[in-house]
């Protein structure tokens, strides 16, 4: 009983500590902490995060977190759904065990190892092969002429600027690899929870396998799939080490995915133990508090959705 209640206590304690420790920056900067910035009088460039002069605004970290998570979802969601469909509906029985074991292993690798791999394998790969391909597409005269009005192509577009390898794109890709197994395994779970009679009904009406999957499986499981995607998003938002190792760690905002940045979690990991002033530390804790609240909301929502689907159905039938 007390042990179980301690879980409430832990959440309350974490929240209370975060709120208390971030008082300093909350009182000084208030809500504008998350959207304002200063302008450097000499260069006329925005200054967000300036520990030396004690001015802290968190906008670039919000931007970095959102962009990397979005890129990650963009890559991971179609792949994860594809894998889940393959595993539940198409896979020969002898492959099913090893494949689901592999996806489980992927979830068990610590994020620092993902980061290590990303530094030495993924980043060179992106820099030498993947990014030049996209730069070629995005800065070709045809695309500039056709889509120039969107501001997303050309030299200051999504793939403009210096191609370092490090940056938002690399962080997004490694996040995608990390959240894939979570989304895939949960999607698989909600798909297996779809009753067999639904599938059989669709097949009996003469549907091909794909039509059966589309009409019977995906449509019935869609709420659970959305829930598992949100759960993956929650993981991506809070992921720290792998992102801190590849994102480049600069508190700036650029449109290009190739530029370096910072996410909410990575700035805490990088600067917390070296924070020079109480204000600096307090500002970092306030970012942590924001991260805590956002992930609680996101996770709570996702759990409710997944529960709503799997609770009413009978135990898994394989």
């Amino acid at each position: 009983m007390t042990c179980a209640l301690s879980i409430f206590a832990i959440v309350a304690l974490i929240a209370a500590e975060l709120v208390m420790q971030s008082q300093l920056s909350w009182h000084k900067f208030g809500l504008p902490f998350f959207y304002k910035f200063n302008i450097d009088p000499d260069t006329h460039l925005p200054v967000f995060w300036d520990p030396v002069n004690g001015s802290f605004y968190a906008l670039p970290f919000l931007y970095g977190t959102l962009v990397t998570s979005f890129v990650a979802l963009l890559i991971a969601v179609p792949l994860a759904i594809g894998v889940a469909v393959f595993l539940t509906e198409m896979c020969p029985r002898f492959l099913r065990g090893p494949l689901s074991f592999l996806t489980e292993l992927l979830a068990a690798i610590p994020s620092v190892v993902y980061g290590l791999w990303a530094i030495f394998v993924l980043i060179p790969l992106l820099r030498e092969h993947v990014s030049p391909f996209f730069i070629g597409i995005f800065s070709a005269p045809v695309t500039v002429k056709l889509f120039g009005w969107t501001g997303l192509v050309g030299d200051d577009g999504l793939f403009g600027g210096v191609n370092l390898g490090l940056g938002l794109l690399a962080a997004g890709v490694i996040l995608a690899v990390m959240i894939l197994p979570i989304i895939a395994s949960l999607t698989r779970e909600v798909m297996t929870a779809v009753p067999h009679s639904q599938r059989e009904a669709a097949l009996a009406l003469g549907a091909t396998r794909w039509e059966m999957i589309r009409v019977a499986v995906l449509r019935n499981a869609r709420i659970g799939i959305v829930g598992s995607i949100i759960l993956g998003l929650g993981r991506a938002l809070g992921e720290t080490m792998a992102v801190a190792m590849v994102i480049g760690n600069t508190a700036e905002i650029h449109r290009s995915l190739l530029s370096t940045g910072h996410s909410m979690a990575s700035v805490i990991a990088n600067e917390f133990s070296e924070a020079t002033s109480d204000m600096h530390r307090s500002a970092l804790i306030e970012i942590g508090l924001a991260l805590f609240l956002v992930t609680i909301l996101v996770n709570g929502l996702a759990r409710l959705l997944v529960w709503a689907v799997t609770r009413s159905t009978p135990a898994r039938v394989n």
């Binding site: 792949l79 610590p110 030495f120 794909w210 039509e211 609680i296």
Partner: protein, 291 residues
């Protein structure tokens, strides 16, 4: 009539085509997902195995830029941190699981606790680090192994609670009823009948939580801080395997990269062994003690 036939045939072949395309895409997605996994493992084993040697397990890190040295202190440090974490996380987690499965089953409070545990599971580890920092480091005025252990221990609790609950729920009711029918008090039945029956499953659940926090770096950066020297004191900064991998991975020296790969291989081996163990025990069924 003929035109209609032709139209029907066209439609049916389009549907077949869509079916094949979808199948192909699903297979492609699976291949794309499996490839990075094999790439990561292959590269890790290739790099790690060529970097592993005896010195890695016996020596402490050399100063920056010097060749050689090992991570002995980090391995021991990880052991100390995980011991503190388990002492905190396992009893509380198992207690919580027992409550959820045995005493509070179906009550609104139990549902709320289960939900909170799931949500707590998703809270980023770095936030746990901040919490441990302000709970332990700030009052003590210095970084310590104890603070790192507390951070990891808090992270273990929700996982252990949920797996314990799931394992206890798999114990058949007839066993409980038999114990109660013999006049055993409820708490006694829970501890020495139900929990004992489910113990292989509960232990594997603890191993799973253990494996998960063994790889955590983020909460250690500003609680355990890391240490270049031998230390087993709970009151001092301590090194840990993932922390040392992180420090070496972002360093500019080739020899430290080599050590980082070796460390990653050791860490992965630890985790893969425990996860496979969990799977093996889970597939054998947890109720060996019952028969």
């Amino acid at each position: 009539m003929k035109a209609r036939n032709q139209e029907n045939r066209l439609r049916s072949s389009m549907r077949k085509l869509a079916d094949h395309v979808a199948t192909g895409l699903a297979i492609l997605a699976t291949v794309l997902v499996v490839t990075p996994l094999i790439a990561i493992f292959g590269y890790l084993i290739y790099k790690g195995a060529s970097s592993l040697n005896l010195a890695f397990f016996t020596q402490i890190p050399k100063p920056e830029g010097e060749v050689g040295g090992g991570m002995a202190n980090a391995i021991v440090g990880s052991g100390v941190l995980l011991a503190v974490a388990s002492l905190l996380g396992v009893p509380v987690g198992i207690g919580g699981g027992i409550y959820l499965a045995e005493f509070g089953r179906g009550t609104r409070l139990a549902n709320a606790i289960r939900f909170t545990a799931d949500v707590l599971n998703g809270v980023p580890s770095i936030v746990m680090g901040i919490a441990a920092y302000s709970l332990v480091v700030v009052p003590m005025h210095h970084y310590s192994a104890f603070a790192g252990g507390v951070a990891l221990g808090i992270m273990m609790i929700p996982t252990v609670t949920r797996t314990t609950e799931e394992m206890l729920l798999m114990v058949p009711n007839s066993i409980r009823e038999a114990a109660l029918g013999l006049g055993v008090p409820n708490w006694r039945s829970v501890l020495s009948i139900t929990l004992k029956t489910a113990s292989p499953g509960v232990i594997t659940g603890c191993m799973l939580a253990f494996a998960r926090v063994a790889g955590e770096t983020a909460p250690l950066i500003f609680t355990a801080l890391g240490n270049q020297f031998w230390s087993v004191s709970l009151n001092r900064e301590i090194s840990a395997l993932p922390l040392q991998i992180y420090i070496y991975a972002i360093s500019p020296y080739d020899d430290q990269h080599r050590l980082a790969w070796a460390g990653a291989l050791v860490l992965i081996a630890l985790i893969v062994v425990s996860v496979s163990l969990v799977r093996y025990v889970a597939s054998r069924g947890i109720l060996k003690g019952a028969s």
